[in-house]
Amino acid sequence: MNDLLQEQTLLQRIRAGDKAACAECIDLHGPGLYRLALRLVHDDKDAEDLVQETFLQAFQAIQHFEGRSELRTWLYRITYNAAMMRFRGQQATVSVDEALEESGTVIPQQLTDWCCLPEPEFQTDEVRVQIEQAIRELPETLRAVFVLRQLEGVSTQEAAETLNVSVEVVKQRLHRARLWLRERLSDYFVERI
């Protein structure tokens, strides 16, 4: 059975009140939603609350889900919107002006090559902390795109649908996020050359 058919079957079962189908949905999508929530809010308990809120909203509205996007995309979108509503206290939408403002490029300031560092230098716990911390410091709109595209591996189209922005905005934000993180990590690694 292909993925689309499997998803349609799962949706039909959930709509029919099949508890095992709800459990399957939780097992299938819960881990990804938790990772997204955790990266967005940086707090275990808040992330757990967001995942629960996502499934509550989703199961309540499942009869109205038209399947124009994948189930995963829809769930990601609920999590993202819930996170934004909860922690920003405002609509999780980006105005055209804001999107245009974001189109500028991050100009590299660090121009020292740190790739020459010995491989073990990149594998330490301290480096992992730095890498995680850099994600936390990313501007919010860039972080959401980076987490979805780079860490969760969703397509550009799916990320655009999740965040309710254009494909082009997703591409620009991903690029800006990478340049931003490169700058941030460069500050750290250059000290170690």
């Binding site: 459990a23 939780i26 757990e48 629960q52 340049l179 993180l181």
Partner: protein, 108 residues
């Protein structure tokens, strides 16, 4: 960046396409011509590529077992949990060994 600043900025905008192998052949050739004589942009490309690879190998946080149990309880799905995983309080340490059983149980 270097004296050819405008060109560097033009190249900079397309670097994600380039390192993701999504740039057209013509764009790749343009970028590589520029990189051949621009040390600064070469450093940016190399460190950008390294940055991306560091994030690609970052371990993914796992969903805690107590969250799965909490969700199952919320939606009254406890009967689908293996008996030994139904506990009243989070106890992740004991649940780690049973993750695969928990995952498969609802499908059975």
């Amino acid at each position: 960046m270097m004296s050819d600043e405008l060109r560097c900025k033009d190249i900079l905008q397309d670097l994600s396409l380039y390192i993701d192998h999504e740039a057209s052949v013509m764009l790749c050739e343009e970028i590589e011509r520029h990189l051949a004589h621009c040390t600064d942009c070469r450093v940016v490309v190399d460190t950008l590529r390294r940055t991306v690879s560091l994030y690609q190998t970052l371990p993914k946080p796992e969903m805690p077992e107590h969250l799965r149990e909490r969700l199952y309880r919320t939606f009254q799905l406890e009967s689908l949990l293996p008996d030994h995983l139904v506990v009243s309080e989070p106890d992740a340490e004991n649940h780690d060994d049973n993750r695969s059983q928990l995952h498969e149980s609802p499908k059975s």
